[in-house]
Amino acid sequence: MKPFLLIVMQTALLLLLAPLLSGLMKKWKARLQNRRGPRLWQPYFDLLKFLRKDMVISEHASWIFSVTPYVLFLTAVSAGLMVPMVTAHAPLSLFGGALGVVGLMALGRFFLALGGLDPASAFGGMGSSREMTLSAIAEPAMMLAIFTVAITAGSTNLSQIVLASQGPGWKFLDPSHALAFAAMFIVLLAETGRIPVDNPATHLELTMIHEAMLLEYSGRYLALLEWGASVKQLVLMTLVANIFFPVGLAANTTPASIGFGLIYFVAKLTGIAGAVVLVETTNAKLRLFRVPDLLSTAFILATLALVSTFLFR
């Protein structure tokens, strides 16, 4: 019964915490820009509102359009169940480690891009094209950064990576991990659609990427997509937080250690969210064809990370 409970707990945490994280980041960003900003709970109200709304579906759309919200949402949550959040043992880490997480997110993205093309709108196609391009450029940097950590831990299983970090011989943020973290942070900005890569607040058709694919969605499909996107953001941030700063994860399932794990987890998450918000406020959005430069910087950082595992041995 224990593992089942863990699965339920982590699913609940993923689903409930994700909108809060989005709300928190919006709030902080507004504060840094001297605005008051929406309430912290606003994303929950948005989701409830969307769920209760009628839907309009494009006459050109096919079943792909209707399947996409499910696929995006379910892959994001499943990926989340493979990542250690509060406990060092992720409930379903046996089903796939880092590569499984990346693969599931890619599956969600694949369908989202198809969903963007389906209603025959040029904006959707534009969004799909850009999303697939940028994610393709970001992928090698992300993989290389993950590889660097996986090689030191001798495993691609995320729970094993976290456990290895608590053993001997693991130096906290040694040069290679610091460089890999820098690379991964840039990738995080790109994958979650943050400034300077994409602007989550924009509705200006010609600059948007993620939003352009959602343009034709409404009602409960939109709710599912927004929710899925915020879960994906939470999963990626958790991944970064827990493989680069693997402190305070609950080693067993006693209430006390889980409680401490939760406190650590929230602290790490707010730290990374704060960093993302700082970057977003202090930078302007890059021109689309400048983004590959940023992402190749990430790739070079990740390569250096790998080389330094070799040099500083």
Partner: protein, 682 residues
Amino acid sequence: MNAPPATLLVASLGGYVLGAVAGVSFLRREKLANVCSFGAASLSALSGLLAGLIFLADGSGTPSLRSELLPALNPYIRFTVRLDPLGAFFLLIISLLAFALSAYSLGYVKGFFGRKNVGVLGAFFNALLLATTLVFVADNIWLFLIAWEIMALTAYCLVSFEHEHAEARDAGVLYFIMSHIDAGCIILGFLLLFQASGDYSFDSLHGLGAKLSPGKRDAAFVLFLVGFGIKAGIVPLHIWLPAAHPVAPSNVSALLSGAIIKTGIYGLTRVLFDFLGTPPLWWGVAVLAVGTLSAVLGVLYALMEHDLKRLLAYHSIENIGIILMGLGAALMFLHSGHPVLATLALIAGLYHTINHATFKGLLFLGAGAVLQATHTRNMEEMGGLIKRMPQTAFFFLIGAVAISALPPLNGFVSEWLTYQALLQGFGTTESLWRLVFPLSGAMLALTGALAAACFVKAFGITFLAQPRSEHAAQAHEVAPAMRLGMAVLTAACVLLGLFPTVLVRLMDPLTQQLTGQQLSTQLSLADGLVLTSLTEKTGTISTLGIVLMLVCLLPIPLALWLVLARGTKTRIGPTWDCGLRGLTPQMEYTATGFSKPIRMIFKALFQPRRDVQREYDFSPYFAKKLRFESHVEEVFVQRMYRPLRILILRVSRRVRALQAGSIHAYLLYIFVTLLLLLLFAL
């Protein structure tokens, strides 16, 4: 000889012969020719499939099975076939594909009725299957080379089957030339081996590398890499592939891309792992580097295509690259003395080989169905087909997800194994070469993500949104036999994705033969539901688990709607058109537009040429007429093959002077040659 697999194998070979004969005898009765030749092909394929399956399922204890097809002409030239684990594995691949293709052909070929001679197509199709099967089971160099040549010639005839198009003729000639260069290299390579063994049978070549001098061994390696590499379509020897595969009839394209290029992989595996012995380091590095280069460039050029079948042909280059990454890593591990890891990498490469046969075959069949329904290969004239051809669209989508290496289908599993082999390779050596593994892993990630981008484009532009032409608007679902063929391969993609440990178990005899290891127990966990990379610690994946997880989570959104969204209505409405009077297909995103960002980012490689002509009255922003042309030429054609062609033409113009038609000059040549030979003999 009396074992069932050997009987089934001979039956399968005989069936192909009958199919070919049937095709030739019913030249004037096309319906009969269709049923007889493709019916025979599908039955023979089924028999071959069973032969391979039974042989591999029997485990590693069974000895190789031999049978004599024809009486030997002399002690050297024997027509003996042998079923050994490696051959059986490739027999399984081609027979699985051939079964689906033959079923598909029964419907597809009807499109040729009254237009082309179906009997000829059926005869060549059977002959090609026969020759390819023989390549995989040949027991000696002679039979191998004869089958290899028949395969090249029949494939040439099938590529130029629609010879009334200049494109098909040109592609056929290019294919003909390239396949003879490869045959030449392979013959030279085998001659080197024969020098050391003194016998033509494959048994005598086993582990021969130890007997060869290092120089000869390296020479043999290079010759085989070039020879089999041309057949497999590695960069930069690939230029025939995107020319030849698209112009053939689609059932043949699927066979060419799915199985015929795998003869190159078979040859390399046979020679490198069976014949040439423990490899030096640079072999592995070379194969890994060639694989990485082929994978990345193949997918990048695929992205630039808007011809659906050419796009798929370029993806074959990409996938051959991924297979070679596995084989190259395996060679490097053999060099550093890690047979277990080498086996893992070999399994990854060969798993991808069977996967590529299934999903590429499926995609080419889908493309063939689309081609038959819309009469065009140009994606810019398609669109909206998912509503007109729902089943074909579904099959194509499965193929697209599989080839993009997305979970839970088969492409993901084999790429996962490749990643694991590469990652664990980092620890096998202390030298700087260890960096090669994660870097090629990163390139594999780039390849996978670009492939996903390419198949969003291929599926999205072809099947989704509004039809972009009259042909696409009037498309209909294809014949049931064609859908059956696609369904078989779809099922194969799904099963190979969900139950990887079953195939790994079938590969036990094969790895036992090549590296002396069996990994199936090590690689499977929880009754085979979870695939591991050697141990539970290093990494695990369960595609079936992922599917179960997705299904178990499905009630969450459904329950929310039951509670919250009850009573909401769904309305069908027009897509937002910015206040214009409705969207037209012209306003949709195009395939060329979709890949524009990639073209811009990699413009140093593509060097795109564009030509834009605008006509306007008062301001360039309000064009009355616009003509846009964009063209990407392969850098290898531009920098390598064109100068080479010019050079060859120039040299041959000079050499022509020798053959001036004067009998005196010819007599002089003969005399000089004789003199030289005599001198040489001294």
